[in-house]
Symmetry: C2
Subunit: 594 residues, 2 copies
C-alpha cells in the first residue's frame, strides 16, 4: 500500500511536470509561430497541451494496471489513487493560491493603480503571474483530472472486487479496459483538431471532443459484443459520456457572452460593482441546476439499468463516472491548450510583437477560455459521480470488514455527520481564498515598494526584482496549505474514530453534496465575471475605461480565486476525503468512540 501510494504520487507529479515543461517550451514557440499563421500557432499549442493529456491518462492506466497485476488486489490500487489525490490537492490548492496571488496583485497595482497594460514587463509581479498560469492551470488542472480519473477507476475496481467469486475478476478488470479504450479514442480524436487561417479554434476543440466521444462509444459497442460483456456496462458508460458532454455545454450557457447571464451582468455593471457582484453571484448559484440534474439523471439511469441486468446498481454509477472520464485524454489536451495560448499572448505583448500577432494570439486565447469553462463543468460533474461511487465503495469496505452500515438520515449520528461534512467544502474554500487575499495584500505592498524605491522601473531604465515576487507567491502558497490539508485528511479520521462509521458515511455524503454545489457555483460565477468583463472590453456598455468596465474588473478579480483556486480544489478535497475514509474504514469499523 505504501509503495503504491508513492507510485501514485510520483505518476501524478511526473504527468504535471511533463505538462508544465512542454507548456513552457510551447509558450514561446506559439508566440513565434503566431508571426507566421494562426494554423501553425494553434497546432503547436494544442499538440503541446496534448502532451499533458496523453501523458496523464497513459501514466494512470499503466500505473494502475501494473499495481493490480503485481498485487492482484483492487485494494492496493486504492493506495495509488490516494497518492495521486494527495499530490493533486497540493498541486491544485497550492498552485491555485500561487497563481491568483500573483494575478490579483499584478493587476491591482499594475493595471488599476499605475495604469500599465497587463503583462507589461515593468511590473515586478509579471513573471510570478506567468509562472502562476503554468503552475495553477497546467499542472493543477492536470493533477485534478488525473485524480478523478484514477479515483473513479479504483472505486469501480473495489465494487467489482466485492462481487461473487465467479464474476469478481472480470468486473475488477473492466474499468481498466474502459480506460484503455478511452486512451485510444483520445489519440484518434486529437487528429481531428485542426484549424485554418480565419477558422475558429473554439469550434475545432469542441469538434475534437465530440468526435472522440463518438469513437469511444463505437469502441464500447465492439467491446460489449465481441467480449460478451454485460450490456448494462455499455449503457452506464454511454449515459456518463452523454451527461458529461451535456453538462459541459450547459456550463457554457452561463459563462459565454452570447447568452443572457453574461450580458445581463455586463449591463447591470453600469450601476456599479456591487450590482455586478450580486448578479454574477446569483447566476452562478442558478448555474448549478443543469449539472446537478445531469448527475441525478445519470445516477438514476445507470443504477437502474445495471440493477435490472442482475448486477449491483452502484457498480453502474461508477461505470458512468469512468465513462465520463475515459475521454480525459482529449479533454485535458483541450484544457491545457488554454494557459499555453494565454502565456503566448503574454509573451507576444512583453516582447513587443506586431499588432497582428497579438490579434492572432487573442483569437487563440478566447477559444482557450471556452474550452476551460466546458472542461470545468465536465470535471466537476465527473468528480461528483466519482465520489458517489467512492461513497458506495466506502460502505462496501466497511461491510467487507464484517460491520453492518446504515447511513440513514433518521439516525442523529448520521445527521450530525452530514452537517459536519457539509461545512467542510465551504470552510476549505474560505481558507484558500483568505490565503489568496492575505498573500496578495503582502505582494501588493512589495510591488508598491519596488515602484516607490526604484523609479527607474516605470521609466524602463531599471529592472524590477521579479524573483522577490515569485518567492513571496511560492512561500505564501506553501505555508497556506497546512490547515486545508489537515481538513482533508484529518477531519474524516476524527469524525470516523469519534462518531463511528455511520457518522463518517454521513460526513462523506454531506461533503459531497455541498462540495459539488460550491465547486460548480464557484467555477461558473468566476467564468461569468471574467467574460462579462471581456464583453464590456469588446466595446459594449461604454467599453474599456467606462464605469461599467471598472465594475466588471472588480467582478473579474473576485471571480479569480473562485474559479482558479477554491472551485477546482473542492473536487480534490472530496476525493481525498472519500479515499482516506475507505483506506481507514477497516480500522474505524473496529475502533470508534460512539
Amino acid at each position: 500500500m505504501a509503495i503504491s501510494f508513492v507510485v501514485g504520487a510520483l505518476c501524478s507529479a511526473v504527468a504535471g511536470y511533463m505538462g508544465m515543461r512542454v507548456a513552457v517550451e510551447a509558450n514561446v514557440r506559439t508566440a513565434t509561430a503566431a508571426e507566421q499563421s494562426l494554423e501553425s500557432a494553434f497546432r503547436i499549442s494544442f499538440y503541446a497541451g496534448s502532451v499533458l493529456g496523453l501523458a496523464m491518462v497513459g501514466l494512470a492506466v499503466i500505473g494502475m494496471s501494473v499495481i493490480f497485476l503485481v498485487t492482484g488486489q483492487a485494494h492496493a490500487v486504492l493506495g495509488f489513487s490516494f497518492g495521486a489525490s494527495t499530490l493533486a490537492l497540493l498541486a491544485k490548492a497550492g498552485g491555485g493560491i500561487y497563481t491568483k496571488t500573483a494575478d490579483i496583485a499584478a493587476d491591482l497595482v499594475g493595471k488599476v493603480e499605475i495604469g500599465i497594460p497587463e503583462d507589461d514587463p515593468r511590473n515586478p509581479a509579471v513573471v510570478a503571474d506567468n509562472v502562476g498560469d503554468n503552475v495553477g492551470d497546467v499542472a493543477g488542472m492536470g493533477a485534478d483530472i488525473f485524480d478523478s480519473y484514477v479515483a473513479s477507476t479504483v472505486a469501480v475496481m473495489l465494487l467489482g472486487a466485492s462481487f461473487a467469486e465467479t464474476l469478481q475478476y472480470q468486473y475488477t478488470v473492466i474499468p481498466l479496459i474502459l480506460c484503455t479504450l478511452g486512451v485510444f479514442a483520445s489519440l484518434l480524436g486529437i487528429q481531428f483538431v485542426r484549424v485554418r487561417e480565419g477558422g475558429k479554434p473554439g469550434a475545432a476543440l469542441n469538434r475534437g471532443t465530440i468526435i472522440t466521444c463518438i469513437i469511444y462509444i463505437a469502441m464500447l459497442l465492439v467491446l460489449v459484443f465481441l467480449g460478451h460483456v454485460n450490456m448494462a456496462i455499455f449503457w452506464s458508460a454511454f449515459v456518463g459520456i452523454v451527461a458529461g458532454v451535456l453538462i459541459g455545454f450547459t456550463s457554457d450557457y452561463f459563462t459565454n457572452d452570447q447568452h443572457k447571464p453574461v450580458q445581463q451582468t455586463a449591463k447591470e455593471s453600469t450601476s456599479g460593482s456591487a450590482i455586478t457582484i450580486i448578479t454574477g453571484f446569483s447566476y452562478g448559484l442558478i448555474s448549478i441546476l443543469p449539472s446537478i440534474l445531469g448527475v441525478v439523471i445519470a445516477t438514476l439511469i445507470s443504477f437502474n439499468v445495471t440493477q435490472a441486468s442482475g448486477l449491483p446498481g452502484v457498480y453502474g454509477i461508477g461505470v458512468a463516472a469512468v465513462g465520463m472520464l475515459a475521454i480525459s485524454g482529449m479533454i485535458v489536451s483541450a484544457d491545457a491548450y488554454g494557459p499555453i495560448v494565454d502565456n503566448a499572448r503574454g509573451i507576444a505583448e512583453m516582447a513587443g510583437m506586431d499588432h497582428e500577432v497579438i490579434a492572432r494570439a487573442d483569437v487563440l486565447d478566447s477559444a482557450g477560455n471556452t474550452a476551460k469553462a466546458i472542461t470545468k463543468g465536465f470535471s466537476i460533474s465527473a468528480a461528483a459521480l466519482t465520489v458517489l461511487a467512492l461513497f458506495a465503495a466506502y460502505a462496501e469496505v466497511v461491510e467487507a470488514n464484517g460491520m453492518a452500515i446504515t447511513i440513514s438520515l433518521r439516525e442523529p449520528l448520521v445527521v450530525a455527520g452530514v452537517l459536519l461534512g457539509a461545512t467542510a467544502p465551504p470552510i476549505f474554500s474560505a481558507l484558500l481564498m483568505l490565503s489568496v487575499t492575505h498573500n496578495a495584500f503582502d505582494m501588493i505592498e512589495e510591488i508598491r515598494r519596488q515602484f516607490r524605491e526604484k523609479p527607474g522601473i516605470l521609466a524602463g531604465t531599471e529592472m524590477p526584482d521579479y524573483d522577490r515576487c515569485v518567492g513571496l507567491a511560492a512561500q505564501g502558497a506553501l505555508s497556506s496549505l497546512v490547515l486545508p490539508t489537515f481538513l482533508a485528511v484529518g477531519l474524516p479520521l476524527l469524525v470516523g474514530f469519534v462518531l463511528g462509521p455511520d457518522a463518517l458515511g454521513g460526513f462523506l455524503g454531506g461533503a459531497i453534496f455541498t462540495g459539488v454545489i460550491f465547486a460548480l457555483f464557484m467555477a461558473n460565477a468566476g467564468g461569468l465575471w471574467d467574460n462579462a468583463k471581456k464583453y464590456i472590453e469588446s466595446g459594449k456598455f461604454g467599453g474599456p475605461g467606462s464605469e461599467a468596465h471598472k465594475a466588471a474588473v472588480v467582478g473579474d478579480t473576485v471571480g479569480d480565486p473562485f474559479k482558479d483556486t477554491a472551485g477546482p480544489s473542492i473536487n480534490t478535497l472530496i476525493t481525498v476525503m472519500s479515499l482516506v475514509s475507505s483506506l481507514f474504514a477497516p480500522i474505524i469499523a473496529v475502533f470508534h468512540l460512539f
Copy 2:
C-alpha cells in the same frame, strides 16, 4: 385544516401588522424623545419593539391552543403552522426584496452619484427606503420567528401524538406548556431592560436576554418537579436554550468590529473592493462552523438524553428547538427595536434635528445592529433544529400512513432527492437577489430621471415624486415572488409524487443541510461587511471618503440582499418545504410514480 390554515395566516399577519403600526408611531416619538434623553428614547423604542415580540408569541400560543382544544388533533395545528409559514414566506421574501431594492437604489444614486447624505429628503427613494425598513425588518423578522416558533411546536406535537396511547395526550400538550412558560419568562425579562443616560443600550438588550433565559430555566425546573414531567424534557429544553444563546453570541464574533474578521476585512479594503468582497465572503463561510457545531451538539445531547429516558430520541430534538424559541418574546422585542431606532435616526436627519439628537440616535442604532446579528444567528439555528424535528415528524406521518420509510444515503433515489433538495436554497436565494438587482436597476433609472427632469429637487425647491418609487418597489417585489413561491410549495410535491416518499425525505434533508449553511453564511457575511464599513467610517484606515471606505461601501451593498433578503428567507423556505411535505405525506405515501 383549511380553517386552521386561514387562522394561522391571519395571526401571522395581525402580529406583523401590529408590529409595523406601532413601529411607525414609535419612530417619530423616539426621535422626539431623543431630544430629551437617551433613557426615554430607548424606553419608547424598546417597548414599541416588545409590542411585536409579545403580540407574536401571544397570538401563536393562543391560536395553536384553541385549534388543538377544539379539534383535539395535533395534525390540525399543522394547518395553522402552514398558514403562518406561507404568510411568513411572502412577508420575508417580498419584504426583503422591497427593502433592499429601495435601499440600494437610494444609496447608489443619492450617496454615490449625487453625493447627498443618507436619508436626505431630496432623494426620491427616501420614503420607499424608510417604508422598507419597516416592511422587511419589523414585519419580515416577526413573521420569520413566528413561523419557526409555531413550526417547532407543531413538530413536537406531531411527534407526541405518535406515542403510545397512555402518553399521547401529555406529550402532545407539553410543547404548548413550554411555549406558555416562555411567554411569561419574556414578560418578566423585558422589565429588566433599562438604560441610563450614557449607558450602553446593547448591553441592556443582552442583559434582558440572559435574564429571560435564567427565569425560563427556573420555570422549567418547577414544571418538571411539580408536574412530574420526564426530566429529559428539562435537559433537552436546557440544551436548546444554551445552544441558542451561545450560537447568537458566536455570530457576534464574526460581525462585531471588536474582533479580527471585521477588522481584517476593513484593513484589506485598502487594496480595493474586490479584496473586501473575497475576504468578507470567506469569513462568512467560516462563520457557519460554530453554529453548526452548536446544532450538532444540541441534537446529539437532546436525542441521547431523551432516548435514555425511554422516550423516542427525536422528541428531544424537537423540545430543544422549542426551548430555544420559547424566549422569542424577548428576542423579537430586542430585534424589532433595531429598525425603530434606525428609522428614528433617519427622521432626526430628515427633520434637521440637533447634532446631539442625531448622536443619541446613533448610539441607539449601533446597539440595534448588535442585537440584530445575535437574533439572526439565534433564529437560523433555531430554524435548523425546527426543521430537523419537522423532518422527523414527516417520517412519522409517512409511517403512520402504513408505509415503511428508509431515508438511507445508500439508496440512489434518496441521493437524487438530497442532491435536488440541496440545490433549492441556493437557487431560491439567487432568484430573490436577482429580483433585488433587477428592481434596483429600474428604480435607479427612475431616480436619475426625476433628478434630470426636475432640477428643483436637488435645489430643494421642488418635491420629488416619492410615490412612484414606493410603487416601483412594491410592484417589483410582488411580481418577483411567483417563482420562489413555486419553488417552496411546488418542488417538494413534484419530487414526492414523482420520485416517492423516500426521495422526498432525501430532498428535505438536502434542503435543510444547504439551507442552514447558506442562511448562516449570508446573514453573517452581510453583517460583517456592514460593520467593516462602519468601522472605517469611525475613522480607521483613512475614514469616510477614503479608498478603503469606497471599497467597504461596495461590500456593504453586496451584503444588503445577503443579510436582509436571501439569508432570512431561507429559514422560512425550508420550514414551508417541510410542512408541505408533512401535510401531503398521507397522499404521497399512496400515489407516487417511482
